[in-house]
Symmetry: C2
Subunit: 189 residues, 2 copies
DNA sequence: TCTGATTACTCATATCGATGAGTATGGAAG
DNA sequence: CTTCCATACTCATCGATATGAGTAATCAGA
């Protein structure tokens, strides 16, 4: 049930079209949730039907028309309601971890490749988050911004995203190195 | 499709009953995947039907009988096949992050409570992972164990779990502190 | 001018995952 | 002596998520 609240949270700052939201959710800018395009569109339809957001048609000459959505008071109330409800604990669920768990029983060559690939991906995402953070805080220091900034929610979630991707990167690099050395070292199998 | 491979990976070291597996998946010992009891049982049924695991009945006097499962050669082949296939990137999906994203628009008191609660939970899990790691490596140093240990897969995934929970803990603590200070400071609202 | 990328979406279906309830036995704790 | 907890599962159902295909327009590049 949290996708709807993620959408509401994403719409708090600015009116967005479904397409823009999809971009935010799909292309990793959403550091606090992830969803498929179809999910986002379906959720927008439901949210509007329930009166939690309102859409207005924007006619465009050069592009297909689009609908911009903004959160209603009912939507804000819904977010408030969501915020006081118990949050489920978050779990890691990752194909790569499953593969590493089985590392002693399977061929590790492709696994090492996948780990280095993932490390590079994580690094790219971390860089992106870092840039986002700089943009958000402007010329203020982080401490300054977090103390007195007027909109710190996205900054805080972005910090988590950055730490997560850095953790991903470091672990992937280290794991790849270890597996590579073992493979080369005593040339088992 | 990865639950089945997670189950296979979990059964690599030892024969386990469905109930034991459920414990491993449900109670956080599974640092590489998470699943509900009913999912695990259903998957075991499917895996046995597909010949990837075999179960043997163990009659018990004092307890209900149980079935212990072990991975077959076909199961190992399936794991190999899984390992070379592309892994989907992993995303964070967390109610708490959604709430923090909306932090500037909602009441933060209960949010701060939830953050400190989560921090404590993460700390407990991190401690548990730390103990698991010590048990696995015995009296060897980590470097030693990772270089020459015979079964390092679970150790490596546990390392990721530990880092993840430490990251969770640190972020929750810091975020809670920041929100608390802002609330107290310029007493907005 | 044909191709492919980008904007802006919709529909249908399948699989995955979560939730609640239910069954049966034995041992420990009050 | 009764209630609760642990073992060891099964069945049913619902919502969430993923996948694949399809529409329709504009613009840039080969």
């Amino acid at each position: 049930m949290a996708l709807r609240h993620a959408v509401l949270a994403a719409l708090l700052d600015e009116e967005l079209s479904g397409y823009q939201l999809v971009k935010a959710f799909d292309l990793g800018v959403a550091n606090f949730w992830h969803a498929q395009p179809q999910q986002v569109y379906a959720e927008l339809t439901r949210l509007e039907k329930d009166g939690l957001i309102t859409g207005r048609e924007v006619v465009q000459d050069t592009r297909p028309n689009k609908r911009l959505f903004q959160v209603t008071d009912a939507g804000l109330a819904e977010l408030d309601h969501f915020a006081v409800a118990a949050a489920k604990p978050s779990f890691i669920r990752d194909d790569l971890l499953v593969k590493v768990q089985a590392a002693d029983h399977i061929d590790t060559r492709t696994l090492v490749e996948q780990l280095t690939e993932r490390a590079a991906f994580a690094r790219a995402k971390a860089d992106l988050f870092d840039k986002l953070l700089r943009t958000m805080r402007g010329d203020r220091t982080e401490e300054e911004f977090l103390r007195h900034g007027e909109r710190i929610g996205p900054y805080l979630t972005c910090l988590r995203g950055l730490a997560f991707e850095q953790g991903n990167h470091d672990w992937c690099e280290r794991t790849a190195t270890i597996l590579r050395e073992r493979e080369g070292g005593h040339a088992q199998q």
